[in-house]
Amino acid sequence: METNNIHDLRRQVANLRQSLFDQGYVDEQFIELEELQDDATPNFVEEVVTLFCKDSARLIHIIDQTLENHPVDFAKLDNYMHQFKGSSSSIGAKKVKTKCTQFMEYCRAENVEGCKRTFQQLKEEYTTLRRKLEIYFQYARQVGPTETASCHPK
């Protein structure tokens, strides 16, 4: 999507952003974070998302390991997933957060297969979200600090 026209670029950024909401990847908490950005801290949201990704990588790794243990330590899994759910909630990562909740339900039911299946789905959602956000931030950086259209998701 190369363009020399700043207006086209701005429109693309706005569309990318809108689709994050429309497709349910992020919720209103993402807007709360955007509102904390200003000219002095134009990359705040991206910085928070970067921290989220670092933290998520750590949690995914340790949850993967814990799921492979015999017997599975559900208390540990619940704890890790609680952390994952918390941080995804803090950035407004809606689909990821939903998967976390589902996982915790299987955890409480001590259903290993359910946990594994849901965790696979969670990893896919997380990967998709990360990719979309990376692209969005790449484009957003190109247009520089710009007023975010006030968008309230349905």
Binding site: L36, V48, S90, I91
Partner: protein, 191 residues
């Protein structure tokens, strides 16, 4: 005489992401922030065994402690207890944050002396209300006790009644009638 308008807040949260966000929320609300990752570090910062009262180890008076509930090692509740048991620190208002709206937990914290219980994710409006509330309290020491007791009582009642869905609480199914009223109550829970 007049209190400095800028509060110094000690934020305690084991989540890297949440620390960054709360730090930003507080800075935007014109608060000085010291963010630590655990209850132990918070107590270290406060010099619990020292003679200084409500001073951080760097000598900055702490006006408010904002702590997450669920933390490894020492929970926010345990931290709250330690602070309230300390003669040097007990006057510092403590606010608990949690992603879970568990009424017995909220009750326990309020009874142990927490000023307020905020649902995560914490919003800018929450922080601003909190700051204004603490500023009013800080500037008015004589009337502090009566006013705070009254407000704490009415907040407790609000929390006990407020078992209905709010914008934060996606998983619960809404109660039948007064959910919108409850949302308004929740939004004006301080002051």
């Amino acid at each position: 005489m007049g209190m400095a308008q800028e509060l110094h807040v000690l934020a305690v949260d084991d989540s890297l992401v949440d620390r960054k966000v709360i730090e930003r929320l507080l800075k935007i609300s014109c608060c000085k922030v010291t963010a630590v990752e655990s209850g132990r570090r918070a107590l270290q910062y406060l010099g619990l065994d020292g003679e200084k009262s409500s001073m951080g180890i760097d000598g900055l008076k702490v006006n408010l402690i904002l702590t997450d509930y669920s933390m490894p090692g020492m929970t926010g509740y345990e931290l709250l207890k330690k602070i309230k048991e300390s003669s040097a620190l007990s006057k510092i208002p403590v606010v608990i944050m949690s992603s879970e709206k568990i009424l017995p937990r909220i009750d326990r914290c309020l009874e142990e002396g927490a000023e307020e219980f905020l649902l995560k994710p914490v919003k800018l409006s929450d922080v601003k209300r909190l700051r204004d509330f603490i500023l009013r309290g800080e500037g008015d020491d004589d009337k502090l006790t009566d006013k705070k007791i009254k407000e704490a009582c009415s907040r407790k009642r609000k929390f006990q009644d407020d078992s209905l869905v709010t914008a934060h609480d996606i998983e619960s199914s809404p109660e039948s009638s007064a959910s919108s009223e409850s949302q308004q109550q929740k939004q004006s829970k301080i002051g």
